[in-house]
Symmetry: C2
Subunit: 221 residues, 2 copies
Amino acid sequence: MARLPVYLRALTALAERGIRTCSSEDLAAAAGVNSAKLRKDLSYLGSYGTRGVGYDVDYLRYQIAREIGVTHDWPVVIVGIGNLGHALANYSGFRSRGFRVVALLDADLERTGELVAGVPVRPFDDLEAIASEHSVAIGVIATPAAAAQDVADRMVAAGVTSILNFAPAVISVPEGVDVRKVDLSIELQILAYHEQRKAHEHARDEHPDLPEMPAVVGGDQ
Amino acid sequence: MARLPVYLRALTALAERGIRTCSSEDLAAAAGVNSAKLRKDLSYLGSYGTRGVGYDVDYLRYQIAREIGVTHDWPVVIVGIGNLGHALANYSGFRSRGFRVVALLDADLERTGELVAGVPVRPFDDLEAIASEHSVAIGVIATPAAAAQDVADRMVAAGVTSILNFAPAVISVPEGVDVRKVDLSIELQILAYHEQRKAHEHARDEHPDLPEMPAVVGGDQ
DNA sequence: AGGAGTTTGTGAACGCGAGAACAAAACGAG
DNA sequence: CTCGTTTTGTTCTCGCGTTCACAAACTCCT
Ligand SMILES: NC(=O)c1ccc[n+]([C@@H]2O[C@H](COP(=O)([O-])OP(=O)(O)OC[C@H]3O[C@@H](n4cnc5c(N)ncnc54)[C@H](O)[C@@H]3O)[C@@H](O)[C@H]2O)c1
Ligand SMILES: NC(=O)c1ccc[n+]([C@@H]2O[C@H](COP(=O)([O-])OP(=O)(O)OC[C@H]3O[C@@H](n4cnc5c(N)ncnc54)[C@H](O)[C@@H]3O)[C@@H](O)[C@H]2O)c1
């Protein structure tokens, strides 16, 4: 389930506030979901709650971490150390949430040797050696879109079976390899869409006799 | 629909390859979705296709852009010019997809005046003046989690009605304000989850008599 | 010990989106 | 003009995820 990490973060926040036990209502509020949904999600992992009492925060935290698989660190490689790659390499949140950046790779040899957050940038061709040495299963693509498919192919060939792709390109991979795509432009465009609909709503509130969909400008051609 | 930006990007890619017209099958393949779903999504916008022929790429591109609301540029402010804020400010993809960064804000006055991608960093307290001057409706939060709620409150007070939040914190906003959250750690954790399940699958393939869920270590307490 | 009050775990209804299948429409050939 | 081909727009069904509602179970107080 994609919601488990959200629960884990909410539990960590509760633990940091010294809270030792919590009800499904509390946790659901902290995670921003319905309490019935949360209970059903948790019951899928097993019966870790106590009726009439609630959940033990630390115990549940460990169980969810175990289910997700972040009780030990996962080695990660980042490919493409440009603007975004630098930010990712400097991000401390990965380390504290179960991930360890074992290598930074870039095709631009001028970047080789540069230290980012204490990790040296290495040539992209070192990928295979690094991946097999550290048993890397997770790779991050932060290269331009044009290079994304090539990088993904090389990663898969080197034994990577999970890819986080920041490039705005659809990449295809063999069966058994997971890809997740993060596309910041699309997030903004979705906001713009809702923003525009708010503006329309507003216009119609003030001029209720306007049609909902105005005539298309720039018609057929 | 959250898929419209994906279609728009696929159409742009087709247009750049000189393709003037395409069928729903073609476009669906480029966008990585089912063709029936794509046709249903497009029919929700109106009847912009021609039976027996397909869709005119440029015409459909304009219609989708109009529906999303990116036929004109949206002004955007970015708050928190640290690692991530720098990367976002330098990202050219925003500009080319309908967004214009009108201001970079940071509470750290030592950053004031620094130029990032030609835009100067300004004090966070300039938010209200900038927002009203440029009619900013969209704000990006790239501050630490502890500051996210405060920044969001100030943004809302300044008239921002859509927020893209990169901080790992649940922020609450009044009715009518949209928030989208991008959480990179959660993306990685979801990959780790699948990765772990692959490892389990594999272990069970080799030792089919192991139970599916091993006994819980660290039992009750 | 027993009852009152809480809170979990789950069975059942509901709603919604996805996909298959088909009818309507446009185009071209003869 | 008519028929066959292609492709859209739409209807229908199926399955899944969400949510409600309630019984089981645990604690605490008397
Ligand atoms: N910067 C952002 O905030 C941002 C936001 C959203 C999406 N993106 C996407 O992330 C990707 C990277 O963005 P960026 O701003 O860091 O770009 P960038 O140009 O600053 O960095 C790209 C890096 O990738 C390296 N590279 C190029 N081809 C390579 C290859 N074949 N193998 C290995 N490395 C290679 C380049 O040498 C460069 O260092 C782009 O696809 C961009 O669209 C960036
Ligand atoms: N760096 C990454 O790749 C990355 C990845 C995922 C998530 N994030 C999240 O994005 C956020 C920023 O990350 P970062 O690495 O850029 O951190 P950072 O510490 O480098 O930058 C944070 C910036 O915010 C400014 N700031 C702090 N409080 C502020 C306030 N009240 N108002 C305005 N500005 C304020 C600071 O001066 C600093 O410049 C964090 O919440 C982090 O968890 C970062």
